[in-house]
Symmetry: C2
Subunit: 345 residues, 2 copies
């Protein structure tokens, strides 16, 4: 409830706000004026702190859970804290080393890499982590292959330039013979090589009915893949931390709700939207448009492959999180992941 246009705080008020946020993050208990006056060397008495706190409350930075309790940061308070006191994220040395080591020794398929990246980020931050895969729209076809699994059942496989493999099975009423299948595969290979996966050109009909049926099936199958599936894959690591953090949330069910959101990949929308920004961006509580994220903060950073923004890494935790550590971790992981993908990709 900001009664006043949010303005810059004078130095002492800022320090007090900072103290409230930091203490509250650490102890999870409302912070009183004495505590601030004692632990911080502000050189003023608790009464002065109290006065400033009333102002901070009027301006909407802090609030009281009830009369005669200490202060708790509001979303606006966290926002001020993030904007002013976390310019550079701080990452513990052990964590820095863990991240560096991980990316130095990672040699896996893209999916595995992203999955394990999410687990790494979760481990470092102690929160649930998300990794959105590179947008495959920028990926190009490297190879198309048709493999007959059983008579009448063909597996279509496309290898993309980013190392991803897209595939689907196709059931055909009239069973093309092996020669027809490989001819079709060769035709696709020739026509699609280098094409963007999300804009595959039509293949000219060959005149052979069985072949054309197969070709139509393949074409339709990939078109469906592009269309229906949100192609950015979402990898979530450390979901258990969500359940463990339930104390930080209002109700116990809210944790379950969040898990559900993640499982249904609802959050992706919000992730992609925020992708506009370049550096680390933080979304606090009510700043999130999704109702269930009211008590959560999301720390995001896009990663760049070959200079182009490709995907996003992020952390989902309670608003009461260690922003400096989280921001540092997200920044480090997004950079390293981008670098690794640029090299290997």
């Amino acid at each position: 409830m900001a009664f006043v246009e949010p303005m810059d705080l004078d130095e002492r008020k800022a320090a007090i706000l900072r103290a409230v946020v930091e203490e509250y993050i650490e102890t999870a208990e409302p912070v009183g004026s004495q505590r601030v006056a004692r632990t911080r060397k502000l050189g003023v008495s608790s009464a002065t702190v109290r006065n400033d706190m009333t102002v901070l409350e009027h301006e909407g930075y802090v609030t009281q859970p009830h009369t005669s309790a200490g202060r708790i940061p509001t979303d606006l308070g966290y926002r001020y804290f993030v904007d002013h006191f976390t310019k550079e994220g701080a990452l513990r040395v052990a964590h820095q080393r863990a991240v560096a080591e991980f990316f130095a020794t990672a040699h896996r398929a893209l999916e595995d890499l992203l999955h394990e990246t999410s687990q790494l980020l979760s481990r470092v931050t102690d929160h649930t982590a998300m990794v959105v895969g590179p947008q495959p729209e920028v990926a190009h076809i490297r190879s198309v292959q048709l493999v007959t699994l059983h008579p009448g059942v063909v597996l279509a496989v496309a290898v993309l330039s980013n190392g991803a493999v897209e595939k689907f099975t196709l059931e055909l009423p009239d069973q093309p013979d092996e020669a027809q299948v490989s001819a079709t595969a060769a035709a696709f290979e020739a026509h699609w090589s280098g094409c963007a996966f999300n804009d595959l050109p039509q293949l000219a009909p060959s005149g052979d009915d069985a072949v054309d049926a197969l070709a139509r099936g393949v074409q339709a199958g990939f078109a469906q893949l592009v269309g229906e599936r949100p192609m950015e894959m979402l990898y979530v690591g450390g979901t258990s931390r969500l359940a463990a953090e339930h104390e930080s949330f209002a109700t116990a069910e809210s944790a379950a709700h969040l898990l559900e959101l993640l499982e249904h990949q609802v959050v992706v929308v919000s992730l992609v939207r925020n992708l506009l920004d370049q550096g680390v961006s933080v979304s606090i509580g009510s700043e999130n448009e999704i109702e269930e994220l009211r008590d959560c903060a999301i720390v995001l950073a896009p990663y760049q492959v070959e200079g182009e923004p490709a995907g996003t890494v992020g952390v989902l935790g309670p608003t009461r999180m260690d922003y400096r550590l989280t921001i540092g971790a997200v920044a480090a992981v997004s950079q390293q992941l981008g670098r690794l993908l640029t090299r290997v990709d």
Copy 2:
């Protein structure tokens, strides 16, 4: 605490035990003698029920959370219930239809299918569901392909007979040219076609250094895939139900522990071990060797592809679950999944 060798219960005691289990499953509260005498038409008074209950308690089928409270089933009690009163699982019509419809319209890649199967099973049972993919040891190579992503970076792709695709990226110090790569691919394709994925024969050296380096890399890469990764993929659906069920568990953290177990795929071991059985098998509380599953029950059924046991589907929930419904759902899904994979596979 069974003081007596577990014996068959007389009809009335069995009915009382059944009543206790069913009522407790429904209400989650200790069941008293009056409740049993009233709701069930046993034709006896609560005093008689009380007497029988003492016997049931001595024999270890039920227990009291504290003196002067109703009875709660023990693991042994659930066991008796499952063995005697759930011979045929019961599935609601709406659920039966949902399962049938799902498998009638499923046309996706293997991974997607298994993943969505786990979500289906979770939705039907209202618990966390697990699907273990077909063991790829029985899968055979259908196609091997090497795709140059960048100079010096090759993606090796193997298509298996079960529709799975295994792949990894390979970085080569000396960059083979396109002709060498395709020659190597052709050689692998020729030598490995039809071979079991877990037992790939060595390729004879060609004499060309660059080609042999590439071949060794590919060989080693697949060998590593076979060796290091637990090849049965585990798909977990409905993790949010675990968090929602936290009331059923002793501590709130235990739900987080379970999530962690699932994420690290620890449960797989126990799943594969139980795969011996043919039909639906139920593992209740302390029957599970894993400490964290002390308050959980696992309902499992293998599914068969072409007559051979291939993988497992299962449900993880609190010991206080609706066994009839769960068993019915697991049985139905395992059968249908097996049938679908036999057709398409």
